[in-house]
């Protein structure tokens, strides 16, 4: 890729930092060139993000319908599977799967809820209400 062809499409990262690309100058020598982003990858990220947002919304609805505990919502929100949650909380995967049931989740001790809240970086009452406000 030639230096002048390095794309400059402003991405959400580009607002924080430009990124280094390697490209060739007029003599064919490699130099570095800063880029604001590239439309092709912005849309790749958008597509992935939209898919995730869909999963989060679906999970939220399931919790509201009492088909799942708020744990499901936070796992989708934080992109965590049972394995990662297990690593953060110290619960076993089979315990986490049980805690996905609303009845069982509602009986959890304050101490257990705290472990989840810490893993998801929220407060215990936010964990219960799914009411999180962040950037």
């Amino acid at each position: 890729m030639k230096k002048e062809n390095v794309p400059q499409d402003l991405s959400s990262l580009g607002k924080i930092t430009r990124e280094v690309c390697y490209a060739t100058d007029s003599e064919g020598k490699y130099v570095t060139q800063l880029s604001d982003g590239w439309e092709v990858k912005i849309t790749a990220l958008d597509v992935a993000r939209k898919e995730i947002d869909g999963r989060i919304a679906e999970a939220k609805q399931k919790v509201l319908n009492k088909e799942a505990s708020p744990l499901l919502f936070f796992m989708e929100l934080r992109l965590m599977d049972a394995g990662i949650v297990a690593d953060y909380t110290g619960f076993w995967k089979w315990q986490i799967k049980r805690h996905l049931k609303p009845d069982i989740f509602n009986r959890l001790s304050e101490k257990d809820l705290k472990k989840y809240a810490e893993a998801f970086n929220v407060k215990v009452d936010e964990l219960k209400s799914m009411d999180v406000h962040e950037d």
């Binding site: 890729m1 390095v6 959400s12 990262l13 607002k15 924080i16 930092t17 430009r18 990124e19 280094v20 690309c21 390697y22 490209a23 060739t24 064919g28 020598k29 490699y30 570095t32 800063l34 880029s35 590239w38 439309e39 092709v40 990858k41 849309t43 790749a44 990220l45 597509v47 992935a48 993000r49 898919e51 934080r78 992109l79 965590m80 394995g83 990662i84 690593d87 953060y88 970086n121 950037d135």
Partner: protein, 336 residues
């Protein structure tokens, strides 16, 4: 407390950290492309059966942690590398190195990295940065992806050093074990060894999933994605491929441009027309990877999506595999 250390931005985190940690003792000679090439960073692998973020597991570079280790070993520099079971010990060890005036490389998870934009935060645990001081409760951070040095509070740093999940960093710290100056002869030997290792990784790893055969394997797979997965999921898979290929930290074209730059710089130390010829071929390969990304974007944006469009996409990868195979074969046959 602030160590005499100069932040340098790079394309890829690990080659950037390596180059920056070696900057002083190499007098700036170990550039990012040299670190990437000596560390045999170029790769391709499609790991079947495993899913990452509900998509295919594809990588364009070697295993995390590989570049720093290999670059130092090839240059004859001992490596200090530590993992920790306790957060307290992990912070104490960091402070001890900083107090001794040693900037320290650290493996971290990206998900809770506060200065990253939210859109970019995934559970990826093999990001690398350098800690080069502490002021009050703030650690001074040189993240090679960023234009400028930044900071993390001690809590924020602890959280990303002890991120959980696959490839959990366990507080890992690393730095070169001595401060002896690096000579041009050492660099020459290291370049040869890096190329040799990369030739092996791309041409000789058995099985269809890794190296150039992995690229053609993926190309053929893509042609079947539309039927097998349906248009929507196939689009998501292609978007994941593009992100692995072009997202922050690749320098563009799935690291192929950095590698082309490495071969040019290798030629400065070991003049050889074949290095320049191979460099041009990797530029071509990088360009073709980007053309393929544009085709993929057409599909995941819903602008195109016929079977023929998937065939075109798959065929790009077959053409790339062909170019890279020829280029690595050229490198393999160099008589040093």
């Amino acid at each position: 407390m602030k160590i005499d250390f100069e932040h340098g931005q790079a394309a890829h985190c690990e080659s950037g950290v390596t180059s920056n940690l070696l900057k002083k003792i190499s007098k700036g000679k170990i550039t990012e492309p040299l670190a990437f090439g000596i560390g045999a960073g170029l790769f391709f692998v499609y790991v079947p059966l495993i899913k990452i973020n509900n998509g295919p597991a594809i990588a364009f570079r070697s295993m995390p942690g590989f570049i720093f280790n290999r670059t130092c070993k090839s240059l004859g520099i001992p490596v200090v590398q530590k993992k920790f079971s306790s957060k307290e010990k992990a912070e104490a060890a960091l402070m001890e190195s900083l107090n001794a005036g040693q900037p320290v490389g650290a493996q971290v998870g990206v998900y809770y990295l506060s200065y990253f934009p939210k859109e970019y935060r995934f559970h990826f645990n093999a990001h690398n940065l350098i800690v080069f001081g502490k002021e009050g409760d703030n650690y001074l951070i040189s993240d090679p992806i960023m234009e400028h040095a930044t900071t993390l509070t001690s809590y924020e740093l602890e959280r990303v050093r002890f991120a959980k999940g696959a490839l959990a960093p366990k507080g890992q710290l690393y730095y070169p074990g001595n401060q002896n100056e690096i000579t041009d002869d050492q660099i020459r030997t290291a370049i040869k060894s890096g190329i040799k290792k990369n030739v092996f990784n791309m041409l000789s790893i058995p099985g269809p999933f890794a190296g150039v055969s992995g690229i053609s394997y993926t190309g053929n797979k893509i042609k079947r994605w539309r039927d097998k997965l349906g248009l929507k999921t196939a689009g998501l898979y292609l978007a994941q491929l593009v992100r692995m290929q072009e997202e922050i930290g690749t320098g563009g074209g799935g690291f192929r441009y950095i590698y082309a730059a490495f071969l040019q710089q290798a030629n400065d130390y070991l003049p050889n027309a074949t290095l320049l010829q191979a460099s041009e071929m990797f530029t071509q390969a990088g360009d073709l990877w980007r053309t393929a990304a544009v085709q993929a974007a057409g599909i995941y944006k819903g602008r195109i999506g016929s079977q023929e469009d998937f065939d075109v996409m798959g065929n790009y990868l077959l053409a790339i595999a062909d170019i890279e195979k020829k280029a690595f074969t050229l490198l393999k046959n160099i008589k040093w």
